[in-house]
Subunit: 399 residues, 2 copies
């Protein structure tokens, strides 16, 4: 049973049938997958028990019509565990982290790629193209390889080295661009027009977000339907925040949650690239493109997000917040988290910790608040941002 | 309920109580944890349903007495999935891979570290030391940090760069050694004597193997008690192969499996460091140390394994095999697996693929045989062994 019905434009309400490949709405907005949520009330949450430990446990609310088309490497259902030491240090009694670094390809991008590539296969598309800050490319190249889909990927020259190798080993065509992800996007866009590649850039195809939304289902299910007061999310393209908020609305409509207080969504950006924060602070509905974006957290170095208005809408509707942190604080938080919690988180995940510290210091978060941090990827993919020196010993040395 | 009773020497049958820290037996052999397997028959396999999706679902048969001492980052219960493309290419209808790269710290070493560090905490030890090829250090440093244990780690100068950073970011003291893991081990051994650090080198403490053995429980449970005919395992210290075989024997004794045919264990090594293969081929009970070990697969560059006789015993008892493959074949298998299955496996995991190809070519594995490959870690941690060149585009370029 699958309840996916069609695609809908959140801006102009145009609809599109699900049987044909489509990128953006004719009005330029991203499209969202819609489900028959009335019928989906038959998909009761009790039926989740005993299902596979990956995101396909929610397949009824995912856009893949024929389960034969599912391309999976075991993505999703990542653990949530307590951050007791960090919580103590911050005076928070209930601090949790969901570790998306335990996904295939080492980041939450695996969810989007699994949903997206499964649909690419289902729709009969043979060749895809995308710009990436690094992790998304690694994920789409890997899932693409598993599905037998040819992948073209452009990334900034200074994207993490590992992600370049990750794309290449999977057989993707990789182009490095002297510029940022928006520059890479332009090159890919023109290439796609010229060669007929299907563009799978962030929100330029409607299914990546469906994979990401499973984080929302999981947070509720894994926390036994007693969700956190805050969800901190490092925001680049913002697909995760849009996806989680979409999941929460769908869960309300199918009766999985009823009248419960919903988590406040907190969008975290870097001071060197904070278009969403700026729009939030000035009360705008859309974000202005950020000039000269820079931050070592490659995944949130996104000067312009197609889904900016959807992110800002999720923040408003949830009563959330948006704030930016410095690269220095990000590096400090990576080390602090590894030393106190044993978890080597990515710079984007570390931005959450730095932001949380700020909000606690300002009295915006209270000791009894339940806070969930999303670590979007494995720190090992970004080891190059940390520099350590080590003593070198001869093999006859003694300590 | 926990059935751990004491430690036993598999060589001279001496026993040791579980309340005190101990390294090797007085006879020099590694020690093994023993359980009251008669009583453990009350631990029926049906009770596993609905338990946590990590290795602690088998806590009754793990050595941590008080669950309060469990240090977890979500390790274990990694997915097993079909390798259909590779299987087709090799003419195998039932080829599977268990992806241990989805463990915290990106390798199966997380299992051993979780069990080992939990026991270190339980026994009140404050400071530990170990040599490592890379991944084990990353795992023990991380779990150690989470438990508040100080960690000293020595590794070969040419260990993967990421694993060095991984240890350092977690606050471990890291020493690089101009030599191999055995040389690093000597330096650590002397340091431990001098400073009173507790040595947690491979099999020098008895609990790492208990964490590793959960791979055996999982293979049976996840394959619905219909195990594969062959399990391929890249063999350095050999703890995994010993652990999986120990798990199989324990499952027999507590009635989880009865008279089923057991998997044949296949130990895979590199041609540049193959002490177990040499011992196997010459019918020896112990392996001679390997002179001048070299292979790009750092995790199996182990010239001498304390548990050599236990590995060889598992191969004999299971009717298995041991064989070595070249670095060239390892690199080829990494690429082939990424391109056909979308999985970036580690060089050690790739050695399995190369070995399987050999056995198929020799007619030792048949089309209907069910084969499980253990990918022991994430390829992203070894990205440096692959070298790709990429076109660099100006941001105004067109494809």
């Amino acid at each position: 049973m699958n309840y996916f019905t069609h695609l809908n434009c959140p801006k102009c309400s145009s609809t599109y049938e699900k049987e044909k490949p489509v990128n953006l709405c004719k009005c330029g907005s991203p499209l969202l997958a819609e489900y028959d949520l009335e019928k989906a009330r038959n998909f009761v949450k009790e039926s989740l028990q005993g299902r596979e430990n990956n995101m396909w446990r929610y397949r009824e609310l995912l856009p893949v019509v024929d389960t034969e088309n599912i391309i999976s490497l075991g993505e999703g259902f990542t653990p949530i565990f307590p951050f007791q030491s960090l919580g103590r240090e911050l005076g928070l009694r209930n601090l949790f982290c969901k570790d998306e670094g335990l996904n295939p390809t080492g980041s939450f991008k695996a969810r989007g790629a699994a949903a997206g590539i499964s649909r690419v296969l289902e729709l009969g598309i043979k060749e895809i193209a995308m710009p990436t800050a690094g992790n998304a490319g690694g994920a789409w190249a890997s899932y693409g390889a598993r599905a037998g889909i040819k992948t073209h990927i452009a990334m900034p020259l200074d994207a993490p080295e590992i992600t370049k190798t990750e794309c290449a080993v999977a057989g993707a065509e990789v182009y490095l661009v002297r510029g940022n992800i928006a520059d890479a996007g332009k090159i890919i866009g023109e290439g796609a027009k010229k060669y007929g590649w299907f563009e799978v850039s962030t929100l330029k195809e409607p299914y990546r977000i469906e994979g990401k939304k499973t984080m929302g289902f999981e947070i509720f299910e894994q926390m036994k339907w007693d969700p956190p007061d805050y969800i901190f999310y490092p925001t680049g393209g913002g697909v995760g925040i849009i996806g989680i908020w979409k999941a929460i609305k769908e869960m309300e409509q199918i009766g999985w949650i009823e009248g419960e207080k919903k988590p406040k969504m907190v969008a975290v950006q870097a001071e060197g690239c904070a278009p969403i924060v700026k729009a939030w602070e000035t009360g705008k509905e859309f974000a202005d493109p950020w000039e000269d974006p820079h931050t070592l957290a490659a995944g949130i170095r996104v000067p312009r997000a197609l889904g900016d208005f959807l992110v800002l809408q999720a923040l408003r509707e949830s009563g959330g917040a948006a704030l930016a942190v410095s690269d220095e604080d990000i590096l400090g938080a990576m080390e602090k988290t590894a030393r106190s919690e044993g978890m080597f988180i990515c710079p984007e995940g570390a931005a959450n910790i730095a932001a949380l510290e700020k909000m606690v210091a300002r009295g915006q978060i209270n000791p009894e608040d339940r806070v969930l941090l999303l670590n979007t990827g494995a720190g090992i993919k970004y080891a190059e941002v940390l520099k350590y020196g080590f003593p070198v010993l001869e093999k006859t040395a003694r300590l």
